[in-house]
Amino acid sequence: MLWRFFAAKGVQYALVLLFAVTLNFALPRMMPGSPLVFLAGEDVGFMTEAQRAQLYSAFGLDRPVWRQYAIYLGNLARGDLGHSFQQGRPVVEIILSRLRWTVLLVGISLLLATLIGIAWGTAAAWRRGRPLDLASLGGAMLLESTPSFWLAMIFIAVFAAGRGWFPVFGAMTPGAGLSGPAWIFDVAWHLVLPLATLTLVTIPGMFLIMRYSLLTVLGEQYISTARSKGVAERRIMFRHAMRNALLPVSTVFMLNLGYIVSGATVIETVFSYPGLGRLLFEAVLARDYPVLQGTFFIVTVSVILANIAADLVYPLIDPRVRHAR
């Protein structure tokens, strides 16, 4: 029966992928505006009709849309994401060079935010209604509604420009030519502020889910039973309640895992961090169709992969799903 389950899932994911890939092709082209200026430079106004035509044909933009779509699908099947309009480089190369920075920043931040969110949420739920819980709830709400660019600016003003503890921008010291431990230290040093900002704005979501989920579980009858049996509070919390309460958090974590590669546009832009989020944003402004398609494709694939992973992992952590099947 298991193979049938996976076959059905496989077909489902293939359809989702095809749909997403089509959307990735169509959406950039539906935006008003032309990529011409990024293909040819700022003086496009001075080009003749023939010169424009030469450019359009060189980049395949003169073909009918369905032809462009067919070529795009064909290239995609061969793993060719094309060349960036703006930079002229292969899209695969650009994405790979940005991917590591984004995974470093967003991946670590997601891990940290999840762990802190779980711990904080548990502490708050345990002290429900007490000052600690109320203060935590207020603090989380405040943090949740703080715009990330504003927080980033404050951090830059205080810790980078003011105290001089951290660099203002970038992922490493430009032109320093470091290697080995010095390079690792340099990268870590540049990572602190963007990572702190991104983690801080991600924590509240995790905190709220964890707290709410734990409170729901704590209201269940089996918890009352355990209490009436005289099981210790600490044991109830960690053995009975928390294990169940972690399910929604792990779902959110899994889903976020897929979105890691979409980067953190705002924070990457403010800190001039060379991640995929900033790349995506710049590609939108430049109508850089190949980069847009390529980045969306990577995001699509990783979201689907994260879903598959969630499908596989969930039965392991939730026996009910296992039995229902």
């Binding site: 008003p32 505006g33 011409l36 430079g41 496009v44 030469q54 292969p90 032109g175 710049e282």
Partner: protein
Amino acid sequence: MSLLIYLVVVSLLLPPANAQSSTVRLALTRDEGWLNPYTYQSGYPGWNIMTLVYDPLFYPDLNNEPIPWLVRDTRVSTDGRTWTLTLRPNIRWHDGRPLTSEDVKFTFEYAAKVTHSRWTPTTRNLDGVDAPNPQTVIFRLKQPDAGFRLRTLADVPILPKHVWEPVTTVAAARAFRNTVGSGPFRVEEVQDGQFYRLSANPQYFAGPVKVREVVLPIIRDATVSFTALQAGQIDANARTLSPELVAQFEKAAGIKVVRGAGFASTILQFNVEHPLLKDARLRRAIAGAINTTLMVRLLMLGYAVVGSPGYLHPDSPFYAQGLKFEGSKAKSVALLNEAGYLDRNRDGIREAQDGTPLQFTLLTLAGNPVRIRGAELIRTALKDVGIGVNIRVAEDAAIIDQVWPEFDVCKGRRFDMAVFGWSAPVMSRPTALVDLFHSNCQIGAINIGGYKNPQLDRLGEQLVVTVDPASQKQLAAEMQKIVAQDLPIHVLFYPDTIMAYRQSAYGRWAFQKGQGYVTKLSFVDPPK
């Protein structure tokens, strides 16, 4: 011993880049490709940075006058159609091969074949380029060209033939990574989205390069780029300082602020083909209601020059002396009443004779807060004289799509009015008046309002083939007077060019009038 440990610890804690005093860190606004002539992106500072690696035959000096660079001697035939240039001796490419007239000939033939928006149009008037011997190059023009020295000779970078010959298509040229040039710097390192590192060319023909290494970090956010300057993490910034930061930076220790006229413009662009806005009286009334002096004070804190109605900046050598726009709300009201634009239904908005209300959409770019606030001031001012304005703000490509579809004036326009602007190079050439206002969409390539005036067309056609500067000035002055009369655009102001740098890191920046200090002349003296 403890001193030694202390020194080691301190040297580890110091950011490594500070140790090299001969490195200058100049922040760029965006990625500029591989920094060769077919991959750099922006007109400013991209072109300026690219010309640190490549040399054109001439180069604009600090007053935007083209001076001979690769060239030692220039002879122009009496009919202005044959230019014979002699190259300086002993110029070499970064790979050691000699730069000869064959490379020059190749460059212009290449530009004609492999389309680039800036180089290719300069070849349109070329009948041919000859290289009779390695030092001599002869340009044959179809007709005399007023802008040949500045727009062609001082603009098109010379490519090494032996490197570019195999790169034959646009797509290949756009993806080509080679950066062998003849310029004062070589490209050493390109980190996608992060920075460039250039090192001085020790064999540069024009003499010693003043900096050993130039690092160009890309900083996307304007505020962050100036914070980095203040914190000492960069030494200079290709961006101009925004007015509200000027006072603070002038007081900051170690930072020097340089300021001068700016040749970029902020304009109110009319769609002259609009059924109502085609009436020059209405345009005049709209312009008159806007207090540009107030705008300069409120939006630019005084760091701008009030617009001249003939487009050209008062500091431009081609400015028509004494040209000044006179207007006031009272005059506008009188003008509107006289032209029959009255508020017949008393809703606060005037109507044309046929009952169409004077209600317009004003477009502006989302990325430019000063222009958005300018649009707000315009709306308030026009409301006072009975003209309604809706402001629509969108990102650049979406606005361009309406104002200047596909960057092709021949494709028409779909807007009423826009707060727009042109970059500095448009101001430094007299022929810009032709580009801006000629009615033929092939000639008036940036006449985005669709303005037409046969008299101006004739003067413009004369100007482009005039080589004598005095006659150029006279023709340009006459054209500006016509433009000031018809007002196809209303020039609001010219923001000053204000730039800052860290004196201690590097203090030999050269300030190019109207443009700023990102010029080759900041790093090397003109060849003697």
